[in-house]
Structures are given as C-alpha cells and as structure tokens.
C-alpha cells in the first residue's frame, strides 16, 4: 500500500513538473504531504504484518518502522531543501522526483523478502543518489563527488551481486524466508557463509563503515548539503535495514553469529577512525562525514551483538540519528552561503550574536550527537551498548565509550565557535519557513525522544517482535 502511494506520487510529480510552470512552488509541498502521509500510515499500521506480491515484500513490522524513518527524513529534508535550492539557484524539477524515487527504493529494500528485491531497491536508491549528489551540475565539486560515488558504489554493487550469486548457488533459493528458516543447515556450507560475508561487505560500503569508508568524506562534502543530510540518514538506515533482515535468523533462532567478529572489527575501526580523524576537520560537512562514519560504528555494535535488544537499539539509534543529523545539516544549509562559502567552522564564530536560535539549535544537535543525556543521541548509544554487554561484548562497548570521549572534542568545538568566540565575518542569514520548520521539528523530536524514549522504543519493540 505505501509503495503504491509513493509510486503514484512519483507519477503525479512528473505530471506536475511537465504541465505547470509553478512546479517549483507545488512540488516540495506535494512531496512533504506525500511523505508525511506515508510515514504516518506506516506508523499506524506497524503491528499489521503481512507479505505481498507472492512473497516478495513484507508490510508492517520492522519494514513499517523503516518506512516511517525514510519518509519522515525525506519530508524534513524536502522542507529544508526549498531555501537551499533557492539560494543556489539550482532548482531542477528532478530533485524532488529523485528524492521520491530513492525513498521508494529504500522502502523496497527494507521490506524485501527476497534477495533480488533487496538488490532492486538498492539500485533504485543508489542511482537516484548518484544523480542527486551531482544535482547542481554547474559545480565542479558536485560532479566530482557524483563520479566518485558512482564508481565506488558500482564497486560495492559488484560485491553484492557476487555475494547473491554465491548465496543462491549454495542455498538454491533467494527467498529470505527460506534462508532464515534453514540458516543452520545452510551455514554448514562454507560457500554460503562466504557469500553472505561478501554480501555484507558490499553493504558495509553503503553504511560507510571502515575500511569501506573512503568515498564518504569527499561525497558528503561535494554534494548539496541537503542531499548529504538525506544520504547520511535515510540512506544509512536503508542499508542497515538489509543487515537486520539478513541477521534475523541469528536474532530470532539463536543461530550462531558467524559474523560477530567481522562486525565487531569494522565497528571498532569505524568508531575510532571516524572520531579521531574528525578532530582535524575544519569543514563542517567533512566533520559530519567522519562523525557519520563513527556513528555507523556505534550502530554496527548492535549487529555484532545480534540480540533483540541490540536490534531494537539500532533502529532506535537510526531514527534519532536521522532527526539529529537532518537538524544539523539543515542548520548548516541555513548558514551556508552561495558557492559553498561558510561551511567552515570559522564562519560559526559568534553565531549566537547573529542568530541565537540557530546557535542554540546547532549546539543542541552537537550535544545530541556527542551523546549527552538526556538528549536522544544518548539513548541510541545506551541501547546499543546495552545489547553489546548482554552479548558479552563489553570490550566493544568500552571502545565505544572511549571513542565517544574523543568525539566530544570536535562536537563541542562547534559550540565553542558558536558561543565562546567573537564573530569575524559579517553576513546575514536568509532562511524561511521551510528550513526553520525542519529544524524545529527535528529539535523537538530530539528532545522528546530524550525525555520519553519509551514512546519511540515502544513502537520499535512491537515492530521487532
């Protein structure tokens, strides 16, 4: 049902784009409505789980939660895109349609019940992203980012297809249901495990885990800020949804977790490398790129732990991380000037005297990313660490908290600039309703999920079970 809504939405958007000159005003609000509608629909129907299209797609349950995350992030991103595109004078009708299509791709990924559906969704999402990254085609850096992303993305896709081939070859089926139920018997076949591992490696590219992270900084820096915000949240959530689907055998049947060590290692590497390298970044988008690598690391802890708590923890983490990151990128896009100016941390000096609101908001988001309670980011980490300790991975939790300490430095550096330093350059911030509402909604969610984590976690727990 939600897939049909989005699909029809895409077609309608195309028609609107073709038929009227006013599409610039209509399309964003149309997309917001579409996304919000789908998100709310998914949340409401979270407990009704059934399978569609002869065992290809699952509706409800985990996929509903993921669909809500994707759609909600997309809605917020569209809101903050309106001003951003105006600022860059880079409005292209495709922009919103591409976002809609990528959301459809993500939804297919998260609800796939067949490995081929996963692949289809992934490709739909990735191709839209390749185009979105380079949407501002007059800018050199955007083109460079787009090409880089495309090449490495294609490389990852190669891995995934190879993995699928091995899985199919050894198991004789691509149905995830079948794989999950017979996981134990299949897993005596080394080819099957190898195929799954290669499949996971391919997706490790997509979630930006070390050592498959090389594309992240350049792509995040080069693409439009709003697109970066979208990729780093919904895109990441989509890739994680696949991990969670594939690990459901381990989680629900208590099957041996062959990949525990693999996940533990890439998680530790991502957390540490992401945090350490981010320290030296002055460009805020680049800093958040490395921060996104380390956050991927925290989430992967949950995969390594592989129990119900940690899976619920990852989903919670993904949801709140989306709110926080979209909020942060919206603030950046509000402050950013034309021609990629003012994304350097120095431009934030004395921000509190220019715009107390934006200064307070960027600080809020930075504290939330650093995981200071009682903001939502803390609970994300808490649940994941909780799962890890339950699975006897205390060492990983310790690596996690240590890298959190490191990461505090660069997060609060932004606050230092915004509040403690005096401004050096003068500029006026032009933003309007769209960006502000995106920021306010994200901030409200960050605070609400911080004080009442049970609201969100309750929904997730029902979905996971």
């Amino acid at each position: 049902m939600p897939y049909i809504v989005i699909g029809v939405g895409i077609v309608l958007s195309v028609i609107i784009e073709i038929s009227t000159k006013k599409s610039k005003e209509i399309l964003p609000w149309f997309s917001v409505l579409l996304f919000m509608g789908t998100a709310i629909y998914s949340i409401v129907n979270v407990s009704q789980s059934f399978v569609l299209f002869s065992g290809m797609l699952e509706v409800g349950g985990k996929s509903a939660i993921f669909n809500a995350i994707f759609n909600f992030s997309a809605a917020l991103i569209v809101l903050s895109s309106i001003d951003y595109l105006k600022k860059y004078e880079a409005y292209y009708g495709e922009y919103y349609i591409l976002i809609q299509s990528s959301v459809l791709g993500m939804m297919v990924m998260a609800s796939a019940q067949d490995i081929f559906m996963v692949f289809m969704g992934l490709e739909l999402m990735s191709i839209c992203f390749y185009a979105l990254v380079g949407i501002n085609r007059k800018r050199l850096s955007a083109n460079e980012a787009s090409l880089k992303y495309f090449l490495l993305g294609a490389f990852a896709t190669g891995f995934i297809v190879y993995g699928i081939a091995l899985i199919y070859g050894s198991a004789g089926s691509t149905s995830i249901q079948n794989l999950v139920e017979n996981f134990v018997s299949y897993s005596s076949n080394i080819i099957f495990v190898l195929g799954l591992l290669i499949f996971f490696v391919g997706f490790s590219f997509k979630i930006a885990a070390v050592p498959f992270h090389m594309w992240v900084p350049d792509v995040y820096e080069g693409s439009a800020t709003t697109v970066t915000g979208f990729m780093s949240t919904a895109g990441k959530a989509a890739a994680f949804s696949v991990f969670i689907i594939m690990l459901s055998a381990v989680v629900s049947y208590n099957a041996p977790n062959f990949f525990k060590n693999y996940f533990a290692v890439i998680s530790a590497l991502s957390m540490v490398l992401g945090s350490v390298v981010a320290i030296s970044q002055d460009n805020l988008k680049r800093m958040l790129a490395y921060s996104s690598i380390s956050h991927a690391g925290y989430m992967v802890i949950g995969l390594a732990a592989g129990n119900l708590y940690s899976i619920a923890g990852i989903i919670f983490y993904l949801a709140v991380y989306s709110f926080i990151n979209i909020g942060a990128f919206s603030v950046i896009s509000a402050i950013e000037g034309k021609d990629e100016s003012r994304i350097d941390i120095k431009s934030y000096a004395g921000l509190h005297s220019k715009s107390p609101f934006l200064a307070a908001m960027i600080s809020l988001f930075m504290f939330a990313l650093a995981g200071i309670p009682p903001l939502a980011g803390f609970f994300g980490k808490y649940y994941v660490f909780f799962g890890a300790i339950q699975a006897d991975l205390t060492w990983l939790a310790i690596v996690g908290v240590l890298s959190s300490v490191i990461s505090v430095y660069f997060y609060i550096r932004v606050v230092v600039y915004a509040y403690f330093k005096n401004s050096e350059e003068n500029f006026t911030i032009q933003t309007s309703v769209g960006t502000y509402s995106a920021i306010i909604v994200s901030a409200a969610l960050v605070i609400i999920c911080g004080f009442f984590p049970d609201l969100l976690l309750g929904i997730i727990t029902t979905a996971v079970k």
Partner: protein, 523 residues
C-alpha cells in the same frame, strides 16, 4: 515506603524557572537578576520544608517518589534522600542564591543565558544528590556538564575555551566508563533477580555478589569517574584551570557543590555497591589521597595568583574527604561528609572574597595587594574568617571535619597504619602556612601599591548580605556541629553496615573515643 512529591517539586522549581528566564529580554537585567535569586530562594525554602519532613533517626531513604519512566529498561524516576544527601541538597540550595546574588556586577554579558545556566546547573546537582536509580543519576551527572561548560566558556577568563574543553572531556571520560559499568550491573542483576534493574536499592543487594575479579573492574570504573570529579591526585589537573578561568559564581558552585558530587558518589555508590573492592583498595586510594593533601598544599604555597591558590587548596581539602571516606570508620566518614559541607562554605567564601577584590581591581596576583587592612577593614575581617575556617581553627567549621577525619583514620582497621594520619596531619600545618602567609601578604604591612587606594573600596551591603549567611554556618558548624552530625549519623552507620556486613571493619569505636569532645557533645 511513603511517597512524597516534595523532592520532585524541589527539582522542578529550578528547571521551570530556568525556562521562564528565557522569556525575559536581555535588557531587563535587574528583573532577571531578581528573578534568579527569587527562584533559587524558593528552591531553598522547599528544601527547608523537605528538611522538616525528614526524620534523621530513620536509616532508610525517605521522601521517596517513584514513577516508571522507561519501561523497557525497567528504569524509573526514583528520588529520595538520606541524611547525607539531605545535607548536600541543603548546601546546594543554600549556595545557589548566594552565588547568584554575588554576580550583580560581575556578569554583564548575556545575563539571561547565565541565569538560565545557573538554574539548570542547580537542578542537575539536586538531581544527582537525590536520584536513587543509577540510570537517573547518570543522566543528571552528565546533563549538568552542559551548563557548567557554558558558564566557564562564555563568562570565563582569558583561557576559558581551553579550560572548558578540558573540564568537559576529563569528566566525560570518567563518566562514560561508569556508564558501561552501570549497564553491566543492570545486565548482571538480571541474571540474579530475573529482571534488568538500575534501582539502587535492588543493586545494593546485587552489587556485593559480583564475582571478585569483575567487581574490581566495576569498582574501578565507578571510582575513576568519581575520582576525576573530586578530583583526586593525579587526576586533578583540570581543576585549577577550570577554577581560575571560571567566573566567580562558577568557581563557587564548582568548589562548593560540584566537587562534592564526586565524594558523594564514593559514599553512595562505591562503598555499598562494591564493599570487597572498596576495602581491598582503600589503602592504595588513601595513599593517593594523602599525596593529594600534601601536594595540593605545597603547590598552593608557591602560587602567586590568589584564585589559583584557593583552587589548589581544594585538591588538598578534598584529599581529606577521600581519606575519611576510605578509612571507613563512623568518625571518619561523618567527618568526610561534614568536611564536604565545610569545604563548600569556606572555599566558597574564599572564592567570593577573591571575586570581590577582582571586580574592583581586575587583579588577582598576591603581589599586587598588600596592606589593605587599613583601606578595607570589613573585607579584611571577612577574609580572615574565611581563611581561618579553611585552615581549620578550632571553633570554626574546618576544624570539626579535619579532626574527625584524622581521628577516624588513625584507628581505622581498613587502612591499618597510622602513617596515613601522620602525613595527612602535616597537610593541616601546610594549610596554615599557605593561607596565613597569603593573608599576611595581602592584608598586612604597608600599602605598597597606591593604585589600590583609588580602586579598592570596602564591601557594600549586598556583598555583606551574601557572605553573612555563609559565616553564620561557618561558626555554627564550628561551635555546635551536632546539628549536622546527627543528621548524617544514622545514614553513615547504614552505609558502613553494608560494608562491614562482609568485612567486620569497624568494631569498638565507642570505647576508643570516649574522650573525644565532639562525640561527647553528641551523646
């Protein structure tokens, strides 16, 4: 257990008023100042009401209020007090209005945000002292970092950015390891009781059963976090920076209450949760405490900056508190608790006085002053009282705490050696040296610097107003400590019983100290 909502009201007062402050405009300076003082005074009144409802003979936690908060993790909002936390809550609510009153001239910039941060900080500290759920405790413990970080970073001195970041990262480092330990305990509790719990009362039963090897790690994680906050030598390096760079109000709260959170944590969590490890590591920790006492005193002696001198004296004084806690006798722990309050009062007063002089001359170096007794007699007397209280003159508060700690550690079976007491006692002597020497150089002699004659004016009524209550308590505790000792006695006994239930550490203390005049008064 009787539910009482008074602590929740106490906690909500500063939180709600901090949000209300944001409704003012920065230009309405006078209004904001009075509002801040009024709000914190209301909190003080509520804490007094709570005190009247508090029964000091009851060993259990009182005035408890429990509401389920996060069902999936079995975390509840659970607050309550015993004697120790009641005393520290009173200290917090007592000092906050006074510090707000002291900022009249010092804080001009962005006053609204300052008052907001101070009130939020107060809420955080109160939360730390009253939470009976480890998870809740952790949240307050961390959340309170943010307002303090802003207070140092925005209104601080020249090196404020360095100091604030150092403060933040040091504290965060310790507390995140504690977080891992908290989660581990919750998970471990589920293997014993069948459900996850971070409820302190449940964990008091679970904690001592943790296998020995792991208990040492758990203890280490908790201890590290608290030791950084105290700060215990050699983890103290953030303190002088933070103190010197923070505005006066920040320093007072930092020294007066924030550091007590560390020692409070040791008493409330480390000892009863991990009794075996506490006893086992007590001698080593006490060695560091004694080193801290002497080191802090020696470093204070060579300071040329008054604020830095007071800051290092904190390291020395809190060494006493840690020594008292880990000596684990009734006297020493009670002494430690009373010393927490004493240090809050006397060091708070010293910071306020240094701040008063600094507001007028913008100088803190001792050499700049000299012979000010003739210029500012009232100020000199006030400084005298604060200095003597900090030195530990009998009849003033400092003496009571230090005496009890030394007495208790002398006969402590856990420490097992009198050398701790011997070396710690030298700290008292050094304290007299550095503080009186500082006093002599600043106050006595001839007026060497003639700029002083124009700049330095005596204390005004407002300044007398906020120092007078502190001096009242300095004398009160010094002359009649029983008021405060009685409050904590039962609670301290309960905690030590939890420790000695496993190790019989604390026998026969009564016949030993029959001649001690404090005990004599008390009985």
């Amino acid at each position: 257990m009787i539910n009482s909502e008074i602590l929740t009201y106490l906690l909500l007062t500063p939180i709600i008023s901090s949000i209300l402050v944001l409704l003012f405009k920065n230009e309405q300076a006078k209004l904001i100042r009075w509002f801040g003082v009024a709000a914190s005074l209301i909190a003080f009144v509520i804490s007094l009401v709570a005190y009247t409802q508090f029964d000091q003979a009851n060993p259990l936690f009182q005035l408890t209020h429990q509401v389920v908060w996060i069902k999936s993790l079995n975390v509840s909002y659970f607050v309550g007090v015993d004697g120790i936390s009641m005393l520290l809550i009173l200290l917090t609510t007592f000092l906050t209005p006074l510090t707000l009153l002291s900022t009249w001239n010092a804080i001009e910039k962005n006053l609204r945000m300052f008052t907001f941060s101070m009130l939020l900080l107060e809420a955080g500290m109160l939360g730390v002292f009253m939470s009976l759920d480890l998870f809740l405790f952790y949240i307050f413990w961390e959340a309170m970092l943010i307002p303090m970080y802003f207070i140092i970073g925005i209104w601080g001195g020249e090196r404020r950015i360095y100091a604030s970041i150092k403060f933040f990262i040091f504290t965060m480092f310790g507390s995140l390891l504690m977080l891992v330990a908290i989660i581990w305990l919750a998970v471990y509790a589920s293997s014993i009781t069948g459900f996850f719990t971070t409820n302190l009362l449940d964990l008091y039963k679970v904690g001592p059963t943790v296998p020995h090897q792991i208990q040492a790690w758990m203890f280490g994680a908790f201890f590290l976090s608290f030791a950084i906050k105290v700060p215990l030598f050699p983890l103290h390096t953030w303190l002088p920076d933070a103190h010197v760079e923070a505005p006066t109000a920040g320093s007072v709260i930092l020294a007066g209450v924030l550091l007590k959170m560390g020692t409070y944590g040791l008493v409330r969590f480390c000892l009863p949760l991990f009794p075996q490890s506490s006893v086992e590591y007590a001698p080593i920790i006490s060695v560091f405490a004694v080193i801290g006492i002497i080191y802090g005193a020696l470093v204070s002696m060579v300071q040329t900056d008054m604020k830095k001198l007071v800051a290092y004296s904190s390291v020395s004084h809190l060494g006493f508190v840690v020594l008292g806690i880990f000596a684990m006798t009734i006297e020493s722990v009670q002494g430690a608790v009373i010393q927490m309050v004493n240090h809050g009062l006397s060091t708070g007063a010293l910071f306020l006085l240094v701040g008063i002089a600094y507001e007028r001359t913008h100088r803190r170096d001792i050499a700049f002053y000299g012979g000010i007794a003739k210029l500012v007699p009232v100020y000199s007397v006030a400084l005298m009282i604060a200095v003597l209280s900090s030195v530990g003159l009998p009849g003033l508060n400092g003496f009571v705490g230090e005496f009890l700690i030394l007495l208790g550690s002398y006969k402590s079976n856990v420490l097992g050696s009198v050398w701790f007491t011997v070396f710690a006692a030298t700290g008292v002597i050094f304290a007299a040296v550095y503080l009186l020497w500082m006093y002599q150089r600043v106050v006595f002699g001839k007026v060497t610097n003639h700029e002083l004659e124009h700049e330095l004016t005596d204390m005004n009524k407002r300044e007398i107003l906020f120092l007078a209550p502190i001096f009242l308590f300095i004398v009160w505790i010094g002359v009649y400590p029983s008021t405060f000792l009685n409050m904590t006695e039962v609670s301290v006994q309960t905690i030590l019983q939890q420790v000695s239930a496993i190790f019989f550490v604390n026998a026969l203390h009564r016949n030993w100290c029959w001649y001690c005049f404090i005990c004599y008064n008390r009985n």
